[in-house]
């Protein structure tokens, strides 16, 4: 086990050297952003080699911080380069015309089956994919209403845990459904980032 760990560590450090060497030689800023993504993957591999629950506990916040950092950097990049205006012609790949309906249906269905945080993430990905590929009308009011109901469900579940602890399973189900709605709703907003009528 020790040898395996040392071998893995050596390989990952070699990759990190390659990655940072490329980062140093790069002049284009967008290429640098992409290489930052590579550096993130390598850092996560370094943590994953710890191979215990501690690794998972460290990877999850790392991922969340990574995605928010990427979003912030990309926004800063767009503003600095003056690219805030909508392009006339978007990137069109054939799979973006044919896949969204079926794939979104499958992902949302599976997400509802999973429920909870992971379910919300899976369902949210489905909705994002649909919004990005097919475009969207402004239905933010609907998402806000959904979020409000999810919040109320959350509070109800909390009171069940506190006042009627013998019905804990009912509370778990309510809380799981609520966080599913919450996470899926929030993530679907990402799908509207590509632009549209009023964004």
């Amino acid at each position: 086990m020790e040898g395996i760990y040392a071998f893995g560590l050596l390989a990952v450090f070699a990759s990190i050297v390659i990655g940072f060497w490329a980062l140093v030689r790069e002049n284009d800023d967008l290429h640098r952003i992409l290489l930052t993504d590579l550096a993130e993957i390598l850092a996560l591999a370094l943590i994953a080699l710890v191979a215990t629950d501690l690794a998972e506990a460290l990877i999850l916040p790392g991922l969340v911080v990574g995605i928010s950092e990427l979003m912030a950097i990309s926004e800063v990049f767009l503003v600095r380069e003056g690219l805030v205006r909508q392009p006339d012609r978007m990137l069109q790949i054939e799979v973006m015309d044919s896949a969204p309906g079926l794939l979104a249906l499958a992902l949302v269905g599976y997400g509802i089956l999973l429920s909870g945080f992971s379910g919300g993430a899976v369902a949210g990905i489905g909705v994002i994919f649909y919004f990005v590929c097919k475009g969207h009308d402004e239905r933010f009011a609907l998402l806000e209403t959904l979020s409000g109901y999810a919040w109320a469900m959350w509070i109800v579940a909390f009171f069940i845990f506190m006042l009627l602890p013998q019905y804990w399973f009912f509370g778990v189900l309510i809380a799981g459904a609520a966080i599913l709605l919450k996470v899926a709703g929030k993530m679907s907003l990402v799908g509207t980032m590509r632009g549209g009528a009023n964004v």
């Binding site: 390659i18 996560l44 591999a45 991922l63 969340v64 767009l78 978007m90 990905i125 980032m193």
Partner: protein
Amino acid sequence: MSVEFFLGIAILVIGTAAAAFPRPRTYLTRLINLEIPAWGLLLIMLSFDETLALLTFVAVTAISTFVIVRVVERRNAA
């Protein structure tokens, strides 16, 4: 130790080289090559039974792809 681990390490190293020095040197090529080390990382996580980390990494990779594609298409249009 498992096959997944060594396969994952190999793919991680190869993919890092591919993403660091893509050919042709365009944004889209580099973005697609980035999937290779991500696959290596997934295999490493799989070999250590890090289920939750694996699933979340898949979800986050999907979102980050959307974010990057958005920047790339605006850059290319400009």
